[in-house]
């Protein structure tokens, strides 16, 4: 009897007890976070969803770091003497390994990562019940704005890219789109966003995309396609539309580059950087909300010094004095250059000039105004669009529409802020013809917006890189353009790994 019990006991444990509860035993809930099907239910979820899309501005592939290499250093304003040769090569059209992470793939990845976040909002938020429908529409509109923005820059960089408009699945192999198709989508996103976004946000939401931000980007989008009439219609918003009177130039030019004067009256759209978190770049707790630009652009001995300014700009600034016969104050706040201390009394991070006599460094967004070193947690907002840019864009559009005379006051407004004489006095030759005005405007944009990541799009829009003669001219300012091959380097190669993995993609021409 006792033996029988011994036999029954294990058998019972083995074959009866466990199977009966096996199902629940194997269903182990993840105690760490929500599952996807538990999310996208409430207004809070929607708000978090759109915030996560904004958070993509803080990633290295985008606006925390490498975008400045693509837009500022690749242009004739900047270049790289980085000892990391491959990093430098990607600012001088020596693209050898198309899978170079820092030069290409990281930016491609973060672009689409941001788009995935926008697409999630656009897919799920329409199904969420909101007490106030306006709030819901504004969240959707912000997602459209951000998606449009990322596609805008992707179109500038690679041109022929796939348009992904739905949340992704692992086996997606999207079709490639033409540049025209991409522009059409960008126009659509900005147009739809601008219809809903508010002219201004209340204080707790300052920094989110406004109608003006969408209109400015819509204007840029049309301008890149040289659709001048449509561009004018979009930019009219600032002058005759609801945006009129909402923006002004700051009195102090430098206020546009300090963290203490962010979101000022000149600001149209800024990336809201912060040093509140000191974590990494990944999707982990305490992730960095700062920009790394100053650490990468600070002069040798202070930061990585991977990017610096071309010296020709110093000369360009010095060609014209203010009405008070002083040097253009924009020179002081745009560049570190050998005579900075002599000209304006400013040291470089507390140091006297110790670099080459023909070298210069970008000063905008650097934090030398309150510290002698840099790090990865810079809180200084990047002004993606400011009103001065809008004024100059509007002037350009009017000029292209043969309204050169109407364009002049907008340029003068920008000049007046820094006490430069009106064009008619200082550059009468610029008013002679549309072409002459455009030539002058190119330099006006350079002096005002140098180092603000608009130059590469400008060069493309102006067609300066479409002919060998044009490239040769640019190469006089920036010898890196001697490597530039017309028809090839106007766009980046698509990451090779993407072309290999997605059979629907064709590598860009000549790569």
């Amino acid at each position: 009897m006792k033996k029988l019990f011994y036999i029954i006991l294990p058998v019972a444990i083995t074959f009866i007890v466990f199977p009966s509860c096996s199902k629940s035993l194997l269903e182990v809930d993840n105690p760490n976070t929500l599952t996807e099907d538990q999310f996208w239910k409430s207004e809070t979820d929607a708000a978090k969803g759109i915030n996560a899309a904004y958070a993509m501005f803080y990633k290295p592939g985008g606006w925390a770091r490498w975008m400045y290499f693509r837009l500022d250093l690749t242009s004739d304003e900047g270049f790289s003497k980085s000892p990391w040769v491959e990093l430098g090569d990607w600012t001088r059209f020596q693209y050898i390994n198309y899978n170079f992470w820092e030069g290409n793939v990281n930016t491609w990845r973060d672009t689409y990562k941001a788009i995935f976040r926008c697409n999630q909002v656009l897919k799920h938020v329409p199904d969420i019940k909101f007490a106030d429908a306006t709030k819901k529409d504004q969240i959707i509109a912000q997602a459209k704005f951000l998606r449009g923005l990322h596609y805008y820059y992707a179109a500038i960089l690679w041109e022929n890219i796939p348009l992904v408009l739905e949340p992704s699945k692992p086996d997606d192999l999207p079709k490639q789109n033409t540049l025209a198709e991409v522009w059409a989508q960008v126009e659509k996103d900005f147009t739809e966003a601008s219809a809903v976004l508010p002219v201004q946000w209340d204080d707790p939401s300052v920094g989110r995309a406004t109608k003006g931000a969408a209109m400015a980007f819509l204007g840029r989008t049309y301008m890149q396609q040289r659709k001048w009439q449509e561009a004018k219609t979009a930019l009219d918003y600032f002058f005759t539309g609801p945006g009129a009177g909402k923006y002004e130039l700051t009195t102090n030019y430098r206020d546009n580059f300090l963290h203490t004067t962010e979101n000022n009256k000149e600001s149209v759209f800024e990336i809201q950087f912060s040093d509140a978190n000191k974590g990494g770049d990944g999707d982990d707790p305490n992730q960095n909300m700062g920009t790394h630009r100053p650490q990468f652009f600070a002069p040798r001995g202070i930061g990585w010094s991977d990017g610096q300014a071309r010296y020709w700009m110093v000369n360009e600034f010095k060609k014209e004095k203010t009405l008070a016969n002083t040097l253009d104050p924009r020179l002081r706040y745009t560049l570190f250059y050998p005579a900075l201390e002599g000209d304006f009394g400013d040291k470089v991070y507390g140091r006297s000039w110790e670099w080459g006599s023909d070298e210069a460094w970008f000063r905008k967004y650097q934090r030398d105004y309150y510290r002698n070193n840099e790090d990865y947690f810079c809180q200084n907002n990047f002004r993606m669009v400011r009103y001065a840019d809008v004024l100059l864009m509007y002037a350009e559009v009017l000029n292209e529409l043969n309204q050169t005379g109407n364009a002049v006051p907008y340029v003068n407004a920008v000049r007046t802020r820094v006490n430069m004489a009106p064009l008619a006095t200082a550059h009468p030759e610029a008013l002679v013809s549309k072409d002459a005005f455009r030539d002058r405007l190119k330099m006006e944009r350079e002096l005002e917006l140098c180092g603000e990541s608009v130059r590469w799009a400008d060069l493309k829009r102006w067609g300066d890189l479409d002919t060998q003669a044009g490239v040769d001219k640019v190469a006089q300012r920036d010898p890196d353009f001697n490597n530039f091959k017309v028809g090839k380097h106007i766009r980046l190669p698509i990451p090779q790994i993407e072309v290999l993995n997605n059979t629907n993609l064709k590598q860009n021409a000549q790569y």
Binding site: S22, F39, Y54, V164, P204, M289, W304
Partner: protein, 1019 residues
């Protein structure tokens, strides 16, 4: 007197030989092989001579029926029931031959003696050896699957941190690579790469599923079995696809208490690079700048830093073990303590382990109970970055200390020494990083012998580890242009727990010539891991510079934590059937349910069957020189679900935050970041194995040969997906690829004696062919680094540009055209590399890359030899790998001039005056001649290495008796002393954990030369 001594020494020698070589389980039966024969002087007689004696078995019991023959006359007799015999021989110079079934034939010369006793040894101790096969044991001779028994004695001779590292070259079919970093784990791969996730095998320690990592003391091991084929590993189901390593720890033996001590003390020496000194560096650096038209840097010619002297030192390794053990018929105990300490050859690195083990068991009537438990504390002092790279990246013109820099250390300087190498001395001082684990591992078991042939066993296994990580970063810099950081402390604490509950029933019975064993069981295992971490910045510092790194101090707190859980529920059954010792059959089935798989696919079934035929037992088999011959075959399916905890579950990442608003306040964000495939199922490995076991030539030669074909289907892997999906946080796991591995393994051991020297020589040969059958998502290839993995080819083949010498003249440049007459490298100058335009389009692009070599060795070879003479014993293990092409990461840095690192001493870049070289011209700041993706850096990775050589002296017992010791040995040994290779890096034997870049030698910590002195004694 002298003879007696001689005889004893001979006996000792054989004992040692047996203990060290033949059987890991041998402390139990180490007396099996000894053969004592007493030599007594007899009276000389011219005519017929009578010899008498007694024949006993290895335990001293008399054997009846042993045939005793005179070799010369073939006259003979047999022993009686008491083992006695008596034989008359024609003269005193003959030889007696003793034969008995199942025993080794003995031949003893008469030499005038009239009394000759003989002890018979079983035919092959290794065949009567009991092998642990998972939920039971089998005699080695009855195995039907591919199971290797690791010679534990050889393993324990080596001075090593981990079991895996010490096993290298001792088992066929097992690929092992270690390195010289203190506390580092070795990579182990059984029978090839079967998936893209991990090659780590399943470890079973005393019945508990737990990894034998660096916390585990190799000295506690009694036996190790490696289950290589499906039929052997099938009983472990869904976790066994990478093979299973079963470790059994030592137990007490019947008898009075036995105390043992062993200690090893070693010196470690790192291999070093041959790098340029200040003058040579300056000459080459100026050349590179001049060629590029760049202004020379202002090198500090007064500084002569040998960075290797700064970063490397002689390491030490200490390993001390003490144990006491004993037992009776009703129980046994074994208690051991271990200290292991390693001061690395790199400054500020080290590893320490303290361990205690208690194994006990007892029996009363039908009830037995026992436990095995080990408690260890292991602490590693780690170093950031890679010093083996740093010493190359830093220039000899940089001083170790430079008061001008924050923190006071020298590193690159923009005008004098432009390099971004990190100063290892600065890191050693400015950073402290430790990793400590306190681990308890053990099991408690109970057995009920319900009937004579039926027993029930309950096994409760438990493992827990308290992990503690600390990091302190002091203020100061170690590299040029470094971003500012304040003093930072970072600490995390974690707990790992794994609990195993097993119930098994074993039925075992013989029915005439039929023998049957049936096992049925159920197991449940639950793993949990949880961690909390915290960070503070701006730490408090006292006036003497000390930082208070506790997390109460400092500012800007950050904290976090997470948890992981998994459950595995299984049912298992095995049938072992044997008929007449000739036909053997094993059938296994396991059913596993895993919480890691999607809800609809949690369960998987893993059946296997294997059979063996002992052909030598057949009547028709009459090959005299073959003693035993067994043919084996097996086929079956195994699983693997070695993936993350919730990889099938789409989750929301809630860690985004943004700054927003006039006040720049922080708001949370949440979104899906990582994509998932929701219907993950278990990956399956189907394997067919053929094997032969043979012993021949009077048991002197034993051979095992295996051939296997293994296919893995539905491989669970994070296959790269289109980046346009926006996925991040790791590629989603998917049941994608299919892989095939085929291999041949051969082990052979020859044991014999020549005069007074007993010796053995063994060889393990492993060949492996890896082939990708499918990659999932319809892909044809995966590119990773400089490799491509293509369907139909092995994983991770080298895929690079081909170089074709150096342009000597401008004419050569201009005449280097494709068929359309296009100059292929128009920008090249004499001294530049000529690349092959493989696609003929007249330019050098990525499209010209081709597959040029395989990182897989054609074969690997282990050679293990030993000999003993009197009180001396010599052991040697060689290990070699042949046929692999490897990437020399070191040369790809020191043989280039685009970026400032130190240069290889004696390098001769091309110049117009010295054009006879294979190094292109030096050119600063251009990747032209320094591309990493070319065949320039690929080398033959062949090597043959003396892994271990040791000589042991056994102190004669007559001396020991006076101090009360029963045995004592002194061993002098060396590891990695000789390496025969043409590889130009530090070490051709390295471990790259990237599955696709296994052949990339990327400044891995090399294997170290080690000189050890060991002492062992017992009483």
């Amino acid at each position: 007197m002298r003879r007696t001594y001689h005889g004893y020494g001979f006996d000792r020698a054989i004992r040692n030989f047996v203990r060290n070589r033949l059987s890991p389980a041998l402390p139990v039966c180490c007396f099996l092989f000894c053969c004592l024969f007493t030599i007594a002087s007899g009276t000389m007689a011219q005519s017929a001579h009578t010899v008498q004696g007694k024949v006993t078995d290895n335990k001293g019991n008399p054997i009846e029926g042993v045939s005793v023959q005179n070799r010369n006359t073939s006259s003979g007799t047999k022993t009686d029931a008491n083992g006695h015999y008596s034989i008359t021989v024609p003269d005193k110079s003959g030889t007696l031959v003793f034969t008995f079934v199942g025993c080794i034939t003995q031949e003893l010369p008469i030499r005038g003696q009239s009394a000759i006793n003989c002890q018979m040894m079983p035919a092959d101790a290794s065949l009567s050896e009991v092998v642990v096969i998972g939920y039971g044991t089998q005699q080695k001779r009855d195995l039907t699957g591919a199971i290797s028994v690791v010679p534990v004695a050889d393993l324990q001779k080596r001075q090593a941190t981990t079991v895996a590292e010490a096993m290298q070259g001792l088992v066929a079919g097992v690929y092992i690579r270690g390195g010289g970093q203190p506390g580092s784990e070795a990579k182990i791969e059984i029978r090839g790469l079967k998936n893209f996730q991990s090659s780590a095998p399943l470890y079973v320690i005393d019945g508990m599923i737990a990894v034998a990592n660096r916390d585990f003391n190799p000295n506690d091991i009694e036996s190790i079995q490696v289950l290589k084929d499906v039929s052997a590993a099938a009983i472990y189901g869904s976790r066994a696809a990478n093979g299973v390593i079963i470790i059994t720890t030592r137990k007490g033996r019947k008898g009075p208490m036995r105390v043992e001590f062993s200690g090893k003390s070693s010196l470690q020496v790192t291999p070093r690079y041959k790098l340029a000194g200040t003058e040579e560096f300056a000459r080459l650096n100026y050349m590179a700048y001049d060629n590029a038209g760049a202004p020379r840097q202002n090198l500090d010619m007064n500084v002569h830093t040998d960075w290797q002297n700064e970063a490397f030192k002689t390491g030490t390794m200490q390993n001390y073990n003490a144990s006491f053990s004993g037992g009776s018929d009703n129980g046994s105990y074994f208690v051991s303590a271990n200290y292991f300490g390693n001061e690395g050859t790199v400054i500020s690195t080290g590893f320490k382990r303290l361990g205690l083990r208690v194994n006990t068991q007892g029996t009363k009537g039908i009830f037995s109970i026992g436990e095995n438990v080990s408690i260890t504390n292991a602490k590693a002092d780690e170093m950031s970055g890679n010093p083996y790279l740093d010493v190359v990246r830093l220039l000899p013109t940089i001083p170790v200390k430079d008061p001008a820099n924050p923190g006071g250390y020298g590193y690159g300087n923009e005008s004098k020494a432009r390099t971004f190498g990190t100063n290892p001395v600065a890191i050693a001082d400015l950073e402290d990083r430790t990793n400590e684990n306190f681990r308890i591992l053990g099991n408690l078991w109970a057995e009920l012998k319900l009937l004579r042939s039926l027993k029930y066993r309950f096994n409760l296994g438990y493992e827990t580890s308290n992990d503690h990580y600390t990091y302190l970063r002091k203020e100061g810099n170690w590299t040029l242009n470094q971003a500012y950081d304040p003093a930072i402390a970072n600490e995390n604490r974690a707990r790992w727990q794994s609990a195993l509950i097993e119930n098994t029933l074993t039925f075992s019975e013989n029915f005439g010539k039929h023998s049957v064993t049936v096992i049925a069981g159920q197991t449940y295992q639950r793993d949990t891991y949880s961690q909390i971490w915290g960070t503070k910045r701006n730490l408090l510092q006292n006036s003497s510079g000390y930082y208070y790194s506790v997390l109460d101090q400092g500012s800007e707190p950050q904290t976090g934590g997470f948890e992981q859980k998994a459950v595995l529920l299984s049912y298992l059954g095995r049938l072992e059937y044997k008929f007449n010792d000739k036909y053997l059959l094993n059938a296994v089935v396991r059913r596993d349910g895993s919480s890691r798989l999607s809800n609809s696919n949690k369960w998987g079934n893993f059946p296997s069957v294997s059979a063996a035929w002992r052909i030598s037992r057949e009547d028709f088999f009459r090959v005299k020189w073959i003693d035993d011959l067994k043919l084996r075959a097996s086929h079956g399916t195994l699983g693997s679900s070695n993936i993350g905890y919730w990889d099938y579950l789409a989750t929301i990442n809630t860690f985004s935050t943004i700054a927003v608003g006039r006040d720049q306040h922080t708001e949370p964000g949440a979104t899906q970041v990582r994509l998932v495939n929701p219907d993950l199922r278990v990956e399956t490995l189907t394997q067919t194995n053929f094997g032969i076991d043979a012993t021949m030539l009077n048991h002197r030669l034993s051979i095992t040969a295996e051939y296997f074909i293994a296919k893995t289907k539905d491989v669970l892997t994070g296959m790269p997906i289109a980046i346009t999906t926006g996925n991040d946080g790791g590629n989603p796991v998917v049941n994608a690829a299919s892989l095939k591995n085929t291999g041949f393994e051969l082990s052979a051991v020859w044991r014999s004696k020549a005069g007074a020297v007993d010796y053995y020589a063994g060889a393990n040969l492993t060949t492996l062919k890896n082939r990708v059958l499918a990659l999932g998502y319809g892909r044809k290839n995966i590119f990773s680094g400089n490799t491509v993995t293509e369907v139909g080819a092995p994983t991770g083949m080298w895929y690079v540009l081909q170089t074709d010498g150096i342009f000597q003249t401008m004419d050569e440049v201009n005449n280097y055209k494709n068929k359309d007459g296009k100059v292929i490298q128009p920008n090249a100058k004499p001294g530049d590399i000529r690349f092959k335009d493989n696609n003929g389009d007249g330019q050098i692009t990525n499209d010209d890359k081709v597959v040029v070599g395989s990182p897989w060795p054609d074969f690997e070879l282990g050679l293990n030899m030993g000999a003993s003479y009197k009180s001396f014993e010599l052991t040697m293990n060689w290990f070699g790998s042949f046929g692999a092409t490897v990437y020399n990461g070191y040369r790809s840095v020191v043989d280039r001039f685009d970026d400032n690192s130190n240069y290889r001493a004696g390098i001769k870049p091309w110049t117009p005056d010295a054009p006879n070289t294979n190094v292109p011209r030096a050119y600063y700041a251009s990747t032209l001649n320094s591309r990493g993706d070319t065949d320039r850096w690929l080398e033959k990775g062949d090597f043959m290495r003396l892994k271990y050589i040791g000589i042991t002296y056994t102190i004669p017992p007559s001396l020991l008796k006076r101090i009360g010791f029963s045995n004592a040995q002194v061993t002098l040994a060396g590891q990695n002393l000789i390496t025969i290779t043409k590889f130009g890096g530090l070490d051709p034997e390295f471990n790259n954990n990237n599955i696709f870049e296994r052949g990339y030698n990327n400044f891995n910590y090399p294997n170290l030369k080690m000189y050890s002195l060991g002492l062992q004694f017992g009483f």
